[in-house]
């Protein structure tokens, strides 16, 4: 009956005699995944549930006091909060345009890399830089590039090219945030699309050329259908991340272009006094909104 620790570590238990190999494997499977499931569950399932509860409460700043139940008050306040609706609008515009931007640019650059050329490994590395560099570094680099008084980009656009009147700040705008995000994430789309692009057999293009198909026709009838799935997947993933974006926007423009992510952060941590119950309500609505959008996309648009 005695099982030494060593036996136990080696997976030899007293039950050995009574269990089939299959059962043992099953048991071991559960044992091995259990710690991960418990931890991730503790950091995912429990917080999701807890967040629902918190959204019906007012959370006192003093941590020794427990949250006070206020029913639907947070949600009622949200509906008539113009800042919330502004954030909703900005988020949807931001999500859509930076998703389209990053996916389209990623596609374009991937097509550029379709045929190998000398030095394409190095070029690929350079193109990936925006995506792999630490966010803090590039967010502040963009801030500095676009700094209204001393930034090199405003200098070029305003003083040299005179594209817009002086005194305009182009940095803290929704358009610039979209551009920033497009720039940062097009390499992600590029990388995923490139793998598919390179697997399209060249013969397809050759044959189409011989049949007299033009550039546009080849793109429309060969490239797009071949890439349909990867494009749809990239678009979906970028949609999810753009919708949930926080750090990118916050570090680049702070609260000057309010989106839902920054709205949660500001209300939860950056207002005096913070209103975390309110922020929790916003986060809940975000979860619901995202699920509806994702399910809708997968069901009706992708037709899976």
């Amino acid at each position: 009956m005695s099982t030494s620790f060593r036996d136990w570590i080696a997976g030899r238990s007293v039950f050995d005699r009574d269990m089939t190999i299959k059962q043992k494997e099953m048991l071991l499977g559960y044992v091995l995944i259990l710690p991960s499931v418990l931890l991730v569950g503790a950091s995912l399932v429990y917080p999701v549930a807890y967040n629902i509860y918190l959204s019906f409460t007012e959370i006192p700043v003093d941590p020794t006091q427990s949250p006070e139940w206020v029913g639907l008050a947070n949600y009622q306040a949200l509906v008539s909060d113009p800042e919330f609706w502004e954030a909703v609008q900005n988020t949807l515009i931001f999500t859509f345009f930076s998703d389209v931007g990053a996916t389209a640019l990623g596609l374009g650059v991937a097509l550029l890399f379709r045929n190998k050329f000398r030095g394409d490994g190095i070029m690929r590395g350079l193109v990936l830089l925006p995506y792999i560099a630490p966010l803090i570094a590039i967010a502040f680099t963009w801030r500095w590039l676009l700094q209204p008084t001393y930034g090199i980009v405003p200098h070029l656009l305003q003083d040299v090219l005179e594209l817009y009147p002086s005194g305009t700040n182009i940095r803290e705008t929704l358009g610039m945030v979209i551009l920033f995000d497009t720039w940062r994430y097009f390499p992600f789309a590029f990388l995923l699309i490139l793998a598919r692009v390179r697997s399209i057999p060249n013969e397809l293009y050759e044959a189409a050329k011989i049949d007299g198909a033009g550039r546009v026709a080849r793109f429309k009838d060969i490239t797009l259908p071949e890439l349909k799935f990867v494009l749809a997947a990239v678009f979906l993933l970028r949609w999810i991340w753009n919708f949930n974006v926080f750090s990118d926007v916050w570090l680049f423009v702070g609260n000057n272009v309010p989106i839902l992510g920054t709205f949660v952060y500001v209300r939860g941590f950056n207002t005096i006094p913070p209103n975390q119950g309110y922020a929790a309500a916003v986060a809940n609505l975000m979860v619901i909104g995202l699920f509806v959008m994702v399910i809708g996309y997968v069901k009706y648009f992708l037709d899976w």
Binding site: A133, A137, N244, A283
Partner: protein, 303 residues
């Protein structure tokens, strides 16, 4: 001898025909020029901010804040003042931030992997009812970005007394790293031929012994790569670090650099130098990670 000649000839023929084919699909000149111009533009747009980051970090204030900004500094404009300020430790404890980030990243990645290796093996290899939930569950995790859960997790950490505390940020980061590890390692373990492990089982190894003596040693490169991705997640993470860490002595790089930027007016030289120092370890890691680029990067960011 004879076969050698045949293979040689056939090789020559095939390489010739390949060359011919390439010529036949060779694009006209204007098309090639257009190709390289577009490529150059893409490269420029991708790299220019990094160029500017580097330049800004290596010049002094006078050059940065001149009336007409210039694109390329003269050699005489170059200086190390910004780096001296950064590492001088008189104004900002930048070295402390760097060490904090290094420590938190190293420890949380190691803890996360310790759990993820076994979890990933479990759903990649062992068969049991409900297994699919775990492999799909990794993907559901995609949807719950940090910002959606920051309030409840913060409240939990408050209750546990883990706010403003290194342990708090390590616990958060290491749990966040687990799904990444499950995903990357699960994919990798599935790619190892089953037969190798079965041979081990035949030789009388138990499953655990198979994992420890066959699977893990065989997966070393993938485990190292996953570890590095996990480290980078922690290294770059901003949101949770910003709500958990309050004392300056505990700050990680993202928080420290942000603080530097807000605390002083126009310290762009220092901020860019700090950005360079933060970026360099990441680039070094990616040089190593080249082989695992697509898989790792497709998992996405933490927030």
């Amino acid at each position: 001898m004879f076969t050698k000649i045949i293979t040689k000839t056939s090789q020559a023929v095939s390489s010739m025909s390949r060359r011919l084919r390439r010529q036949s699909i060779e694009a006209p000149l204007w098309e090639r020029v257009g190709f390289f111009l577009t490529l150059g533009l893409v490269g420029f747009v991708s790299v220019f901010p990094f160029y500017w980051m580097g330049v800004t970090s290596f010049v002094d204030e006078a050059w940065l804040y001149q009336r007409t900004p210039q694109l390329v500094p003269a050699v005489s404009d170059l200086s190390l003042t910004n780096y001296q300020t950064l590492f001088g430790a008189e104004t900002v404890p930048f070295v402390q931030y760097f060490l904090n980030s290094l420590f938190i990243g190293t420890v949380s990645a190691a803890l996360g992997l310790a759990f993820a290796i076994f979890g990933a093996y479990s759903f990649a290899r062992l068969e049991y009812p409900g297994r699919w939930i775990f492999s799909r569950g990794v993907l559901v995790n995609y949807m719950f970005a940090g910002i959606l859960l920051v309030i409840p997790i913060f409240q939990i950490l408050v209750t546990l007394g883990l706010v403003n505390n290194r342990l708090g940020i390590i616990v958060t980061h290491f749990i966040f790293v687990i799904p990444l590890g499950l995903y990357l390692l699960g994919n990798y373990f599935r790619s190892i031929p089953k037969e190798i492990e079965e041979a081990g089982l035949m030789d009388g190894y138990s499953r655990i012994e198979v994992i420890a003596r066959i699977t893990i040693p065989m997966s070393k490169p993938a485990i190292v790569a996953t570890y590095m991705y996990a480290f980078l997640l922690s290294w770059n993470e901003y949101l949770y670090a910003s709500v958990i860490l309050r004392d300056q002595g505990l700050y990680t790089l993202p928080i420290g650099i942000e603080q530097l930027q807000y605390a002083f007016e126009n310290v762009w030289g220092d901020v860019m130098a700090a950005s360079v120092v933060t970026t360099i370890p990441v680039l070094i890691i990616f040089l190593y990670l080249q082989k695992y680029l697509v898989e790792g990067l497709s998992f996405g960011n933490m927030d």
